[in-house]
Symmetry: C2
Subunit: 153 residues, 2 copies
DNA sequence: TCACACTTAATTGTTCGCAATTGAACACGC
DNA sequence: GCGTGTTCAATTGCGAACAATTAAGTGTGA
């Protein structure tokens, strides 16, 4: 009966929950990134926004939100801080005045070069081969997308 | 040369970053948990604390922090909210008055039974076999621990 | 014993993250 | 054209998350 009792509790054990693994890994990543991003003057979510803009400039706020799974309640104040840091500019679209377009300033563009060092440092910290990381990334993304599909129902 | 340019940018592409995969998966989990935990009157971090206490009662705040990788700045207010919800009690240890011991109230204990439904729902939402999830969890935990090892240096 | 370092929680201030609401701009159907 | 519904950003309020500091309790060595 003790065996039965233990079995019944297994699903509730912290160490058995993939979700806690993901949650704590995200925080671990955050802590590794922190000193690297401090040199760029960015927080991690701000860094993500900059990654989006370095790929494509002049993006509507909404598109950034869709890529990062964030809403305007998060992005509006974050982007205002990036604007205060003179890394981005926020302008209302002329053809659709509901939209706010986010574009890089020259400083924002320039920061990309300093940022190139970041992924290298992370790779080193992960102590993992690139192929292993890519495989894991793909699995995690697949899981994330299945979860998001459930939410969308 | 275009080829070269693209290659140089690959490490900075959002979709190539395992860290964004983990970050966005954590948020996806959070969104799936939300409606389930709403029924228990818990947020996700509060749920994690309850998981710890359901495994072992009467735990020092510090130990909870070590298990969840959280510090007193996060846990103190969170535990005060759990206390206000009458799920836990906070008492100073008598043998070491620096420590605050966290223990479950009868309501806190009782909530465990309602919580058993949660992991099942998550499993269903992940649309994955248990063995696949366990394998992924182990990989992610291993990665997290390597990252944490780097931080500790 | 007493100064000093260490441990532990609590506090303060900043930034995320999201739900819910508001208000402005657009699209459409008639 | 004109009301209706939709889209989009901004705002408000609350709960994390963490850095940095404070304060109290404990342990140790001279």
């Amino acid at each position: 009966m003790v065996r039965k009792q233990l079995t019944g509790d297994q699903p509730l054990r912290l160490d058995n929950q993939i979700c806690f693994a993901v949650y704590s890994a995200a925080h671990a990543f955050n802590r590794v990134y922190k000193p690297l991003l401090d040199r760029l003057g960015l927080t991690y979510p701000q860094y993500l926004v900059m990654l989006v803009l370095w790929e494509r400039d002049d993006v509507p706020l909404k598109d950034i939100g869709e890529k990062l799974f964030l809403d305007s309640g998060t992005l509006t104040p974050l982007l205002k801080r990036l604007e205060a840091a003179q890394l981005v500019k926020r302008t209302r679209s002329t053809e659709d005045e509901r939209q706010v377009l986010i574009s890089l300033t020259p400083q924002g563009h320039a920061l990309k070069e300093k940022a190139r060092a970041v992924p290298q440092s992370i790779l080193a910290a992960s102590d993992c081969s690139v192929s292993e990381l890519v495989a894991m990334k793909n699995e995690i993304v697949a899981l994330r997308d299945r979860l998001n599909a459930v939410i969308g129902e």
